[in-house]
């Protein structure tokens, strides 16, 4: 295969969810559901992935992006990154997600890529998924057996692996309504501006005045999956977020990450700058 010609595979384009679930039941782990499919198409062309494809683009009514104070933000499986970027609600209430959408790939890709898809690819460098992880999102899976919710804390099971069962279709990702005093931010580091991340950080904090009451910190590109930073979070929770706390957090992050040398950067560099960018992201969230 090459970037010009895809290997032969079956392409299913179901017209409704029951049909989609039938397809998944039949093909099981030999088929990958794709929405925008931008990441999977590259993987197929380069021979990094194989198998059949089920496009969900013909499934009706999955492109919604809605918000209310009870249910929070509901993002359908076909809602694009561009929709997130254009949403004032997302910009105002979920800054980390909006900032991730802003730097997400290119506009061509933003117009077809989805947050659900980004999470299901489970790249350790995912931008949208890092933000969703910090914001404590929940995915909804449907299958012939019924429907279930999966909190994002349990979603990433390994490098490019998730807890989605082969016969399950993700239909939605939701993020709770922001609590009073909650803040979030996203930062990423690249080689050139238009690039995959070599390090990214998503920070979510609940603040009571100067004091942090809850923290969810996510760092990407420093392990086989996106990583939560529980030790760093523990240093923030219940503390005043001042220079001393931030120093302590910065000095702890290297205990929680396992960066490697790869095409985009080195383990040495990532360890050098992880403290710096973690601090800067927390400060960005609070500003």
């Amino acid at each position: 295969m090459s970037t010009r010609v895809l290997t032969k595979f079956d392409l299913q384009v179901p017209k409704d969810i029951p049909e989609a679930l039938d397809v998944l039941d039949n093909y099981k782990d030999t088929i990958t559901p794709v929405a925008g499919g931008s990441d999977m198409m590259v993987a197929w062309k380069l021979g990094l992935e194989s198998g059949n494809a089920m496009s969900v683009t013909a499934l009706p009514g999955l492109d919604y992006l809605t918000y209310d104070d009870n249910e929070g933000l509901r993002i359908g499986a076909l809602a694009t990154i561009d929709q997130l970027l254009k949403s004032d609600i997302v910009k105002e209430k979920y800054p980390a997600l909006w900032e991730a959408a802003e730097v997400f790939a290119t506009h061509q890709i933003k117009n077809t890529a989805t947050l659900v898809g980004n999470c299901l690819r489970a790249s350790p460098a995912g931008d949208g998924s890092a933000a969703a992880y910090a914001l404590g999102a929940t995915l909804t899976f449907v299958s012939k057996e019924g429907e279930r919710q999966e909190h994002i804390d349990n979603l990433f099971t390994g490098y490019a692996q998730t807890s989605r069962k082969p016969n399950e279709l993700a239909t939605e990702i939701t993020i709770p309504a922001p609590k009073a005093g909650s803040k979030s931010a996203f930062w990423r580091v690249t080689r050139v501006n238009e690039d995959l991340a070599k390090l990214n950080v998503a920070a979510y904090l609940e603040m009571d005045g100067d004091t942090c009451t809850e923290a969810r910190l996510v760092m990407g590109c420093v392990g086989p999956t996106l990583l939560r930073l529980p030790k760093c979070e523990a240093l923030l929770k219940g503390s005043k977020v001042d220079e001393a706390t931030l120093e302590a957090v910065a000095n702890t992050v290297n205990d929680e990450i396992t960066p490697i040398d790869d095409k985009r950067s080195t383990a040495e560099y990532r360890r050098s700058v992880a403290p710096v960018f973690l601090k800067r992201t927390i400060l960005k969230a609070l500003s």
Partner: protein
């Protein structure tokens, strides 16, 4: 191996094509309906040479799009912008401002610029530079492309009311 018959509207013209499941929109456009103005540049959605506009002037990478998923869709390619010798204001600006050298990136770059001005009729220089990421030019250093988009914006705002594409 699946066959899919799809209906497309390309530059306003209806086309019905039968495509394989693994065929990209780029291949179908270039080989099956002779829209060779849409270019192959990298096949991985990074250079933007394959850019086409779908509804609402939204740009997508045709090299990463499975043609069979595009049934019922409307597509604009660069060839659909000019009317005979009357160039679209973006094309005219590219010509006048020396934003074209070897020309290979130009179809995608023009469409991307049309998309930008559709969404943001008076972008700042920074907004232009960021929006154009995903379209690679190796000849111009982008300086004159940015100028062309700025000038096209001025011309189009002057004639506000017309469709972008």
């Amino acid at each position: 191996m699946s066959h899919h018959t799809i209906n497309l509207t390309i530059n306003g013209m209806p086309q019905t094509v039968t495509v394989e499941g693994n065929e990209t929109l780029l291949e179908v456009l270039r080989e099956k309906v002779d829209q060779t103005d849409v270019k192959y540049g990298c096949g991985t959605g990074e250079c933007g040479a394959c850019t086409v506009l779908v509804e609402d002037n939204k740009p997508i990478n045709s090299c990463l799009t499975l043609a069979a998923t595009m049934d019922g869709r409307s597509i604009t390619t660069v060839a659909g912008l000019a009317k005979g010798h009357d160039l679209h204001p973006v094309q005219q600006a590219f010509v006048e401002d020396f934003a074209v050298q070897c020309g290979y990136c130009t179809p995608g770059m023009v469409l991307k610029s049309v998309a930008l001005l559709s969404e943001n009729p008076e972008p700042s220089e920074e907004e232009i530079r960021h929006y154009l990421e995903g379209n690679i030019c190796r000849c111009t250093g982008y300086t004159k492309i940015v100028t062309a988009v700025q000038n096209a914006s001025k011309n189009m705002v002057q004639y506000a009311g017309g469709d972008a594409a």
